[in-house]
């Protein structure tokens, strides 16, 4: 039985007869496509692709044109990667520039050219001073613009008010746009993309409107000062670009398995533009989101990530030709004794992760079940209002989170004038400032310390309520901020301890006078890394994804011989039987004998089976093949377009040759191409662990169960998932399936 007889690629409609506006027509679903919220069959997609490739290779020997077509087909993968990289980089650049500008818009405006952010406005000005290197007369705060006063209580209150109002406006626009145009654009996107990449279908999640709305509302959400980041949504944006370009090539648009290879690479490009780190993007895609990652995808991901990073550099949003978001250089080595505070920071990261996950899940559950979930717009406005009101007074929370992290990572040299670097310098020193290692902290540092502590508590609490709202939101940056603040506080504490107690044993060997000892910026980085690893485990999100249709009557847990599951023997399919329809497994089977179209249509209409087995004849139930439930009505309905003369009384046959019929009968309908002649089968004595392994490793969608050579039943991926949920003492009803 050749693989060509498996569900083959549907034949293409003749080109050229369509109109320009045909894209507006509703696309008729093809045989071999999948329904929304179902899983794909990895094996089928793989065999289809091999089939297509073989066809192209064999045809390429025929003529030069066919050879060129085969080369174009081989190159189409790289072209798609190039396009994905270009578009992702461009969109990331646009998002960065717009976020920069809109974040500063909350505080003031540039008078010479309104499209400049604060930093860009003061770029050419000569009035910047060393201490106030951010101020320049071209950029004015709102109070100064409106009333003419720059200082004073009135100006402060006015600035405060306008800050809150701009924040509310931005978040209101964001949530309205999401609600009206693309509800799938909310949230981070990474858990759902993981689910899609593992073979699940969510139609519309990577669509064009989702792409547009996610890009536009991401800028609004980040600019409104909420405690969220843009890295997760950038991955979603990049995958939408990937999906968009897949539809240009039939090699990817018609094969769900191949499409997911492209989406893996697109995810790598997304992380690459978020952080300016192409290799980081590839590693992220490999480790976090992808299910199927062959070597070919590795190179293609790297290529896409590189193109995206270079496109971003060409747009140059950071203004200093830097690609990487946080660029730090530390010149002093770290010492073994510093491992103790590093381990403490790691413990803090773990605690923060646990706290965040538990609290966030509890809050999301409350949102789902109580009245809170009915007012998403009000919820967003309320949270934004609280965030803005609490964030404005503290200078560390007033600015954008990325700026805060950059400042915390920064090593204090001579050229820094921020409060964090306000160390007491010996005025009689002869050497340049940053050579002096241990200096006592000045009042500015102590001021910064308690402000940072307040900022830490604020960020921990507010992120719990922010994440899960109906706007695009990412989790990377807030986690890093929490870790960076904690790390810097610990770093400054250790540094001051080393200065004031340099005669203690641990500091004696390590902190020699005159040598640089502790780098608080490094502690901030370690803290950020520790906190970043933890909260990205909201796996619970995957399970509610699967929509519930009709609840299914499940068969008894006890097997046919009445043994219960607590026996010591490992559960096998015999003891854990599941039929598709409850106790007495009713089988609909189609026989190889000719039936009529109308009989089939009646069968489809009356029942709701997900699959049909085809047997040789009703008497000898020798198993011939398997037909997917969705394919049968599609094949019948599509047939009038292809074969003339097929009517309701036409005969349907599954064999290779048409049955002998009198010539007065209408044209028979051949349905062999939707018949799967080699479905996977296991026997009912297969242990459940092996069955779970088979499903996981092969990516099967369903598997037939035989006993003594006769077909007993069918087990699907969702049945396996339910079983696994039960094993883990989760409620299997929470996994909602058809």
């Amino acid at each position: 039985i050749s693989p060509a007889e498996l569900a083959s690629t549907p034949t293409e409609e003749p080109n050229g007869s369509g109109h320009l506006m045909d894209f507006l027509d509703e696309p008729f679903p093809d045989v071999g496509t999948y329904e929304d919220f179902h899983t794909i069959d990895w094996l089928r997609e793989k065999s289809r692709d091999t089939d297509r490739h073989r066809k192209i290779t064999s045809k390429s020997k025929e003529s030069l044109w066919e050879l060129i077509k085969s080369l174009l087909d081989a190159w189409s993968g790289w072209v798609v990667m190039l396009l994905i990289g270009l578009l992702s980089g461009t969109l990331a650049g646009v998002i960065d520039l717009a976020v920069d500008w809109m974040t500063d818009l909350k505080e003031g405006v540039c008078l010479t050219a309104f499209w400049y952010s604060h930093e860009q406005c003061c770029w050419t000005s000569n009035e910047t001073t060393f201490d106030d290197r951010d101020k320049c007369p071209q950029w004015q705060k709102w109070a100064e613009l409106m009333t003419g006063h720059a200082e004073g209580a009135g100006a402060y209150v006015l600035n405060y008010l306008l800050y809150v109002m701009w924040a509310l406006l931005f978040s209101f626009l964001a949530v309205s746009l999401v609600r009206v145009f693309a509800p799938y654009a909310c949230g981070s996107g990474i858990p759902e993309i993981k689910t899609i990449l593992s073979g699940f279908i969510i139609r519309g999640y990577l669509g064009k409107w989702t792409l547009l709305i996610k890009t536009v509302t991401l800028v609004l959400a980040v600019s409104s000062g909420l405690s969220l980041g843009k890295e997760g949504p950038l991955v979603h944006v990049a995958c939408c670009c990937g999906n968009l370009f897949c539809s240009l090539f039939s090699k990817y648009s018609k094969n769900e398995g191949k499409r997911r290879e492209v989406l893996s690479a697109a995810a790598a490009a997304g992380v690459s533009v978020a952080f300016g780190a192409p290799i980081g993007g590839v590693l992220f895609s490999l480790e976090e989101v992808s299910y199927y990652f062959p070597l070919k995808t590795l190179w293609r991901s790297f290529f896409a990530a590189l193109v995206a990073a270079f496109t971003l550099r060409a747009i140059n949003p950071f203004g200093n030709s830097r690609l990487v978001l946080f660029y730090v250089e530390y010149h002093t080595p770290w010492y073994m004794a510093e491992l103790v505070p590093f381990i403490l920071l790691g413990v803090f990261g773990g605690l923060w992760g646990t706290l965040f996950i538990r609290a966030n899940i509890a809050w999301c559950r409350r949102r789902k079940t109580t009245l809170l979930g009915k007012y998403p717009v009000l919820e967003v406005i309320a949270v934004t209002g609280i965030t803005a009101v609490l964030a404005f007074p503290n200078p560390y929370t007033r600015r954008s989170t990325s700026e805060l992290i950059s400042e915390l990572f920064n090593d204090c040299g001579a050229l820094e004038s921020s409060q964090l670097c306000d160390y007491v310098n010996n005025p009689n020193m002869s050497r340049p400032v940053d050579d002096i290692p241990d200096r006592p902290a000045g009042p500015g540092v102590y001021n910064a310390l308690w402000q940072l502590a307040l900022a830490l508590v604020f960020k921990i609490v507010i992120t719990i309520f922010t994440f899960g709202m109906k706007i695009p939101s990412g989790l990377f940056i807030p986690s890093m901020a929490v870790g960076a603040i904690a790390g810097r506080i610990v770093g400054i504490a250790v540094e001051q301890m080393a200065y004031h107690h340099h005669d203690w044993l641990i500091f004696k060997n390590w902190c020699r006078p005159g040598a640089d000892c502790v780098t608080p910026g490094l502690y901030a980085m370690v803290g950020a890394a520790a906190c970043l690893g933890e909260p990205r485990r909201p796996q619970k999100r995957s399970s509610p994804l699967l929509r519930q249709s009709r609840p299914e009557k499940r068969s008894r847990k006890k097997g046919l011989n009445g043994t219960s599951r607590e026996e010591s023997t490992p559960p096998t399919l015999a003891t854990d039987e599941r039929g598709p329809r409850g106790k007495a497994p009713l089988w609909a089977f189609l026989t190889q004998d000719p039936t009529r179209v109308e009989e089939l249509e009646a069968l489809i209409k009356d029942t709701d089976y997900k699959g049909f087995r085809v047997v040789i004849s009703r008497e000898s139930e020798r198993f011939m093949g398997f037909v997917q439930g969705r394919d049968l009505p599609l094949a019948i309905r599509k047939s009038p377009f292809k074969q003339d003369g097929v009517v309701s009384s036409s005969v349907v046959y599954f064999t290779e040759d048409a049955p002998l019929l009198p010539p007065t009968n209408p044209q028979p309908l051949k349905l062999r191409r939707i018949l799967n002649l080699s479905p996977f089968t296991v026997t009912d004595h297969t242990p459940m662990e092996t069955v779970v392994d088979i499903f996981r490793k092969l990516g099967l969608r369903q598997c037939l169960v035989t006993r003594s050579g006769r077909l007993l039943g069918i087990i699907t991926k969702k049945d396996v998932l339910r079983h696994m949920a039960q094993m883990m003492n989760q409620d299997p009803e929470s996994i909602m399936f058809n």
């Binding site: 027509d25 509703e26 499209w115 060393f130 009206v180 509800p183 799938y184 519309g204 800028v219 509610p544």
Partner: protein
């Protein structure tokens, strides 16, 4: 053609292609003895981006120049002001268009359709903001009343189909909370 004219032409073209404001060399000099910290900026090219060219007027003289310049840090930076301008204006226009379309969909279209068809022909049900379902059969009424050209029909069809999809998404995300918590 004299070399002077060539040079003028070249500098003119260079100025047109790249805004001369877009490059700068920024030198930050920390406090030194009794001189306070200063920031110096100048539009010089990369090869001239060092303390001696940029720091003008030099606050110290003679032997101290070298010590002073050792502490200063000079960085060459460039930006593209045209890119920033185009990006921000493009973003604001897209945002404006989307907002207008949103206002049209939520406020104006129901009003217009109500005025066109009256209350009798349409099934009235509770419509929340953005829900177009009560007026979905307006298209049917339209097609029955007079025959429109195919193009407009197709656009209407496509728009209705899109709205149905969005409504499905909205139901599963906002109402039933089955996707995206």
């Amino acid at each position: 053609v004299s070399p002077m004219k060539l040079k003028n032409a070249k500098s003119l073209i260079c100025d047109l292609l790249q805004n001369s404001e877009d490059i700068r060399c920024k030198c930050i000099c920390p406090p030194y003895r009794d001189i306070e910290g200063q920031i110096y900026k100048q539009n010089v090219s990369l090869k001239d981006c060092n303390c001696l060219h940029v720091v003008e007027p030099m606050p110290v003289d003679g032997k101290d120049v070298e010590a002073y310049c050792l502490r200063c840090e000079c960085k060459f930076e460039e930006r593209s002001s045209a890119t920033i301008k185009v990006t921000i204006i493009m973003y604001l226009s897209i945002l404006g268009l989307l907002l207008l379309y949103m206002v049209y969909l939520t406020l104006l279209e129901p009003m217009l359709k109500r005025r066109l068809f009256g209350h009798s022909q349409l099934i009235q049900s509770d419509d929340d903001v953005g829900d177009q379902q009560p007026f979905a059969n307006a298209h049917n009424v339209l097609s029955h009343s007079h025959s429109r050209p195919n193009m407009l029909n197709k656009v209407e069809h496509a728009q209705q189909r899109w709205r149905r999809q969005v409504q499905e998404q909205r139901k599963s995300v906002f109402d039933r909370h089955v996707v995206l918590s």
